[in-house]
């Protein structure tokens, strides 16, 4: 239970195309995260799956049944909204039981399910309160509780943590992960926060402008981004890019370093800030001038610039003694190089 398949989904609002043909299979019990910059269509895609909007064309299947033309209530899904959308005039208990009452469930069973969800989410003593009397984190739990009591085939979560402060977000993130492990129900999670995406997801779907850029496990996205967009989007701080030309199997980087590359023509070489290190004397390296040093204790972020390459970010371990204005040489290993062709697609 909980397989979701999208086939050639398109969505237009008037003359504006928002989703341009999306094919995606989500397996049973999987936690899939839709991630991408704002306006990429991730929330729209979630609403299409929920049945709150109708796709312009394409097919949506849940457990092999075509639900494209079915209403939101008949798809057996539950959704947690970004604003929580708790009914302000109902108590927490009424909020939780509203959906079950609508499904004409016997009162005893409703009570049992509400109690169970309240215990699971530790909101038992809040049941008689109204949403306005709750803190942000408590509202979040109630919103999740409202989804849980329905016992849905899949959970849809639309940026559920974006209204919480940083500390609470970390706690709730861990709780969500634990909840998924316990319920083993399919979850689709929309976020623009890549830490949430990396920590929670079984698989991440990276979206841009209504198209899927890459679908893969978090570490595969990090280690082998398929294109320039994914490479730049996943990982913090952002990957350093060097635009250069590959000739006779080699591409030159600023400062004289060269990388071996089985390609000819314009290429972009990407190296993550964490994969650069201060070079030994004899080593192949990129030469750069330091602009800013941010010492964070455990690591030091160095902003530097190389001739003809713009700015280079480096994350160095520990607290190396580097001063602003100094010339540094940055070395890297071949296995940490990402190369992309003129169309931004990965080479090799």
């Amino acid at each position: 239970m909980g397989r979701i398949a999208l086939e050639g989904i398109r969505k237009s609002f008037g003359t504006v195309d928002v989703i341009h043909g999306i094919d995606l299979e989500i397996g049973e019990g999987e936690l899939v995260v839709f991630v991408g910059p704002s306006g990429c269509g991730k929330s729209t895609l979630l609403r299409l799956i929920a049945g709150l909007d109708q796709p312009t064309s394409g097919k949506i299947e849940i457990d092999g049944v075509d639900v494209t033309r079915k209403g939101a209530a008949d798809r057996g899904l539950a959704m947690v909204f970004q604003s929580y959308a708790l009914y302000p005039h109902m108590t927490v208990r009424q909020n939780l039981s509203f959906g079950l009452e609508n499904a004409r469930m016997p009162k005893a069973e409703i009570d049992q399910r509400v109690e169970e969800a309240a215990r699971m989410l530790d909101i038992g003593e809040l049941l008689t309160r109204r949403p306005t009397q709750l803190s942000g984190g408590q509202r979040q739990r109630v919103a999740i509780g409202r989804a849980i009591v329905r016992n849905p085939t899949a959970f849809l979560l639309d940026e559920p943590l974006s209204n919480l402060d940083a500390e609470l977000r970390g706690t709730m993130r861990a709780e969500l992960a634990a909840l998924h492990a316990r319920l083993a129900t399919t979850m689709i999670y929309v976020t623009h926060d890549q830490i949430e995406a990396m920590t929670l997801a079984d698989r991440i779907v990276v979206l841009r402008k209504g198209r899927i850029e890459q679908v893969d496990t978090p570490l595969n996205l990090y280690n082998r981004p398929q294109n320039l967009f994914v490479a730049g989007f996943i990982g913090a701080p952002n990957m350093n890019f060097f635009v250069t030309e590959a000739k006779s199997g080699r591409a030159a980087l600023p400062g004289g370093a060269e990388v071996v590359l089985d390609h000819a023509g314009p290429v972009t070489i990407g190296i993550r800030p964490q994969h650069l290190r201060l070079a030994q004397d004899s080593e192949r390296a990129i030469a750069a001038k330091v602009h800013l040093v941010e010492a964070l204790g455990a690591e030091t972020v160095v902003h530097a610039s190389a001739e003809g390459a713009g700015s280079i970010l480096t994350v160095l371990e520990g607290q190396p003694l580097i001063e602003r204005g100094a010339e540094i040489r940055l070395a890297f290993d071949d296995e940490n190089i990402h190369a992309f062709d003129a169309d931004g697609q990965r080479i090799g």
């Binding site: 709150l52 209403g71 959704m79 959308a85 009914y87 302000p88 005039h89 609508n102």
Partner: protein, 351 residues
């Protein structure tokens, strides 16, 4: 207590002195109070005056009643006057009857002697008092309870139906997207520009054709769809987040349940405002009930009151008293529903 006194009497001037804004504020507030409350207080005070006192000029601020005394040999109590005698002394005398320009009077202490006093030489002896008969008589002779019942029924039924139909229209016009939605809204708003007097005759034909003349439903039904109500509720419902409706839709709620269990409770402040309006409108309605209702037992209060204003004689003392009575329900509605208005405004400020 002293805190309240400080609050009210504090001034903005230097060293607690008068600033020109203090003077303007006081003048504005006192003037405004007189302007707002004056007519109502005048109405209430006049409603306790007898017919003779109402016709008096200059009018008095407070209601007075003539003092009377029971005099031996006369069945009814006689009115008392202060009379100036020919020798310049004044005496308290009771009037037996008036004859031309003089009155035949008697001293209550000495009922045997009759004294003739010119009308210009005496002034009525009066004390502040209430002419309660103004209120009691209509209840006894006039069919007040029946008229009151009709008015209450018309007001309650019309208000209930107004809230129901207008909120349904407002929900559809605020939360559903369909072709021609804005056109429908404009059409509804456009009817605000057509006054009742323009549609009076066609409306009468319609009501007559469906056989609702001389029926309270003929008063109620034409009034329930109000453009003001639809507009007011729609504007309020636009502020209810769509996500709540979507959440309810995910929660298996039917469209009717969404309207009934989500939209209506959340629109309560706007509904209260419309309820107040509707009660006041329907309670004070005069022209339309006057046209539809011609049988006496169906009269509403406002039409019933009209029967005191005859062609030749207007019984102001009864009209004033009954006007006060008809004001009471409207005032009560305001007192009980006004907290919804204020909470509605407060809620709008937070969001």
């Amino acid at each position: 207590m002293s805190a309240i006194k400080n609050f009210i009497f504090r001034r903005r001037g230097r060293d607690g002195g008068w600033h020109w804004t203090d003077i303007v504020t006081w003048v504005w507030l006192i003037g405004g109070t007189i302007l707002m409350f004056g007519p109502a207080l005048w109405l209430v005070s006049s409603s306790f005056k007898g017919p003779a006192q109402l016709a008096e000029f200059p009018p008095t601020l407070l209601p007075y009643v003539q003092e009377v005394a029971t005099v031996e040999g006369h069945d009814a109590p006689l009115p008392l006057f202060e009379a100036t005698m020919e020798d310049g002394t004044t005496r308290i005398l009771a009037e037996i009857r008036r004859i031309g320009t003089s009155a035949q009077m008697v001293d209550p202490a000495d009922p045997g002697e009759r004294i003739s006093v010119r009308l210009t030489d005496r002034t009525p002896l009066r004390e502040v008092g209430l002419a309660v008969d103004n209120y009691v008589d209509p209840f006894l002779s006039f069919d007040f309870m029946r008229y009151l019942g009709n008015s209450v029924f018309v007001t309650m039924a019309a208000t209930f139906l107004t809230l129901l139909t207008n909120s349904m229209a407002a929900y559809a016009l605020s939360k559903y997207r369909f072709r021609g939605r804005d056109a429908v809204m404009l059409l509804i708003i456009g009817t605000l520009m057509v006054p009742l007097s323009v549609i009076l005759v066609p409306l009468y034909s319609v009501v007559s054709a469906v056989g609702l003349l001389n029926s309270l439903w003929g008063v109620i039904l034409p009034t329930i769809a109000t453009p003001t109500g639809v507009f007011l509720l729609r504007q309020y419902m636009l502020t209810i987040p769509d996500e709540l409706i979507e959440a309810a839709r995910m929660d298996h709620a039917s469209e009717w349940q969404i309207y009934w269990r989500i939209i209506l409770p959340l629109a309560a402040p706007a509904l209260a405002v419309l309820a107040i309006f509707s009660v006041v409108w329907r309670w004070n309605d005069f022209l339309w009930p006057l046209i539809v209702l011609s049988r006496r037992e169906l009269y509403t209060l406002q039409i019933g009151l009209n029967t005191y204003a005859g062609e030749l004689n207007v019984q102001w003392h009864y009209i004033l008293a009954m006007t006060v009575v008809t004001m009471i329900p409207v005032v009560l509605v305001f007192i009980f529903l006004q907290r919804f208005i204020t909470t509605g405004i407060a809620g709008a400020g937070i969001k």
